[in-house]
């Protein structure tokens, strides 16, 4: 009896000692507090964070962090990409609990999240040396042109064109450099085999269409003083809508949504011969069609007139700290590691197939190319050139409304297979977006 009491006391002392040493060693750089709300935790009493995201293999990057950082332990929760994740977060914010500490947010969702008070300004916790690693354009999507910082950029999504090199060679088609050539190539491919398409117009991917209009020079929102302007049905965007409507009407490209089982199958079995996508496409292709490794090639997006050099953005995201997080300092510390440390950034490239927003730490990892594009060792050098040609674009406070209007209106148009319906759909989007802004009390100027 006495023996076990002594043993228990001994164990207790030992545990305390361990905790103390753990605290001093694990605390490392942050000599701060002892496990209170804003602190950085200790090995014995680590800060526990949750992180919602959807990038491929992000769990492996988080596991690497947890293995090397004993004072902060991150639980990664894989959510659905895009809208569902934002929906989930906004619901949790409204409910008052259930939100994670960190959240992957696409750039275009940040104005919505900020105005809903879902994410916090982390400017004072982020070192200037961290923000210095990003390009001005990327940084502006997390500052929204203000003094605040609403997240740390993770990846960017300059758009480019992917095609099946083997099928192009077999049919003797050269890689389209203009949209007119793209239309010709689409026709040749579809004529050679009516089940094959160079691409599909997807009414499920508003971000892709927004990027295509961005290439043509459109910017859907703008702000001046206290007023927003909406210019969704601009000349440039109408040109893009009419072009894709024409292709769908003639039937040379597909009109079914992307990211369906049917589309995945098309990528794998070669009936989808091309894909207008973004720099993160290798991650999607290797996940959905692993058997086609080495058969795809990437080229810059076709241009509106020969010799031009422009592209748009599709996706790309930042990691934001939510307003429900009780550990903002620890969250920023993890966030900084995740997006600006050499280890993490090279994992983002190699295991997640992302194109990091960090321009400094990503250099080495990008030099070695993408394993899925082993046939194209200059993949990332080309990507870097393309990334420099992204045109400016402003997102507004009701991107969610505009995107949901896109799904409905362009869904109908794609089904109707009529060029005019595509133009009408764009005008409807403009109308719906403006009236939503007005009914919320925004000042809208045209």
């Amino acid at each position: 009896m006495r023996r076990s009491i002594r043993a228990a006391i001994g164990a207790g002392v030992l545990a305390t000692a361990l905790a103390l040493t753990g605290c001093t060693s694990g605390g490392g750089g942050g000599s701060s507090s002892s496990g209170d709300g804003g602190g950085l935790g200790s090995a014995a009493n680590p800060v526990k964070l949750t992180f919602w995201g959807w990038a491929p293999n992000m769990d492996k990057v988080v596991a690497e962090y947890n293995a090397t950082h004993k004072n902060i332990q991150v639980t990664y929760v894989k959510t659905d990409a895009g809208d569902p994740a934002v929906t989930k977060l906004l619901t949790a914010i409204k409910a008052g609990s259930g939100a994670p500490d960190l959240m992957q947010a696409e750039y275009q969702k940040i104005p919505t999240l900020v105005s809903a008070d879902a994410v916090v300004d982390i400017k004072k916790d982020v070192a200037a040396s961290t923000t210095a690693k990003f390009s001005k354009g990327v940084l502006s999507s997390v500052t929204l042109g203000s003094d605040a910082l609403y997240g740390i950029p993770q990846d960017s999504g300059p758009m480019m064109f992917y095609y099946r090199e083997d099928i192009f060679k077999k049919l003797g088609i050269s890689v389209p450099t203009t949209w007119a050539e793209y239309a010709d190539a689409a026709k040749k491919i579809h004529d050679a085999d009516p089940t094959n398409y160079l691409g599909t117009f997807s009414s499920a991917d508003a971000g892709e269409f927004a990027g295509l209009t961005q290439q043509a020079g459109a910017s859907w929102w703008g702000s001046k003083g206290d007023a927003w302007s909406v210019d969704i049905d601009s000349k440039a965007a109408t040109k893009v809508a009419s072009y894709w409507g024409g292709l769908v009407q003639s039937g040379v490209i597909d009109n079914e949504p992307q990211y369906t089982p049917a589309w995945n199958k098309g990528l794998a079995d070669g009936t989808q011969v091309g894909w207008v996508s973004a720099v993160w496409a290798p991650g999607v292709l290797s996940g959905n069609a692993p058997g086609t490794a080495g058969k795809w090639r990437m080229a810059p997006l076709p241009q509106w007139s020969a010799g031009e050099n422009a592209t748009g953005n599709w996706g790309g995201s930042a990691i934001a700290v939510t307003s429900q997080s009780k550990h903002v300092k620890a969250a920023v510390s993890f966030n900084t590691w995740l997006n600006t440390s050499k280890t993490a950034v090279s994992m983002l490239v190699k295991t997640s197939g992302l194109y990091p927003a960090d321009t400094v730490e990503s250099k080495d990892a990008l030099a070695s190319g993408s394993s899925f594009f082993s046939n194209q060792p200059d993949f990332y050098t080309t990507a870097a050139k393309v990334a420099k040609t992204v045109k400016p674009f402003t997102y507004g406070p009701n991107v969610n409304v505009a995107y949901s209007a896109f799904n409905d209106q362009f869904g109908k148009a794609a089904q109707a297979k009529s060029q005019q319906a595509f133009v009408d759909a764009l005008q409807q989007m403009q109308k719906i977006t403006v009236s939503d802004l007005k009914s919320s009390g925004f000042t809208v100027k045209k």
């Binding site: 906004l90 619901t91 900020v114 105005s115 009109n255 049917a262 009936t271 869904g411």
Partner: protein, 288 residues
Amino acid sequence: MLAPAAVLFVLFMAAPIVYTLVLSLQKTQVSGLGLGSGSRKTVFAGLSNYAAALGDPDFVSSVGRVGLYGLIVVPTMLILALVFALLLDSRRTRLVGFSRVVIFLPYAVPAVISSLLWGFLYLPSVSPFVDLATSLGIPAPNLLSPNSVIFAIANIALWGGVGFNMVVMYTSLKAIPSDIYEAARLDGAGEIQVAIRIKIPIILPSLIMTAIFSLIATLQVFAEPTTLKPLTNSISSTYTPLMKVYRDAFTRNDVYSASATSIVIAVAIFALSFFFLRVVQKRAFEEN
């Protein structure tokens, strides 16, 4: 004795309803560019959310769509359920237990999962039925095209509901004392005559109950079209009234107009069930 039930009712029914009513009378007012904390506040909106909901062409067409869907689903489902129940109850049927389980089984599969499974069967390029049809040279219809997608959705709901309604009807058939049948047979009635003259009139109350349940379930259709939506252009985000509520509340982040629409739907369901019950009750119960 009723205290626990009353507490539960207040907590989980009355309170949310009152809260929804309160929300439906408010709206968000934005100041400036709407960025930064505190730039949005909630103000009293009167009945403007209701006016907006009732005047929204998307909402009106979603109601029309659900009406058509109901006309397809409810009668088909009840007739199928009744036929299955009578067949299982008939003396000649073999393998009663097995058949009952097989018919009931789809009810046990959650709507989202069954919709996903059906979605795969509908999608032309992955559907084994389309493969089979093409190999036989028969043109396979595209079930996800705008005109037929409503039947595709109805089909999923049908298999989910038939088993449940059948079990309700079958149970009340089992409760009929067998001496009634003996008397009928002595009078020379066959199986079909027994079914029409005796069984159906006696189980009429459970037919009415299943009809009301089906009616309510119809007006609340959500899971099936929502699950199929990403697969096709034919289903908009306001395809059914509840999908519009979901879109307004979560995609457009406007919980106030969503509350107003859901109150409208709730009142409509209540009115419809009440009306239906009044009409049928007179016919069904006062004659006896």
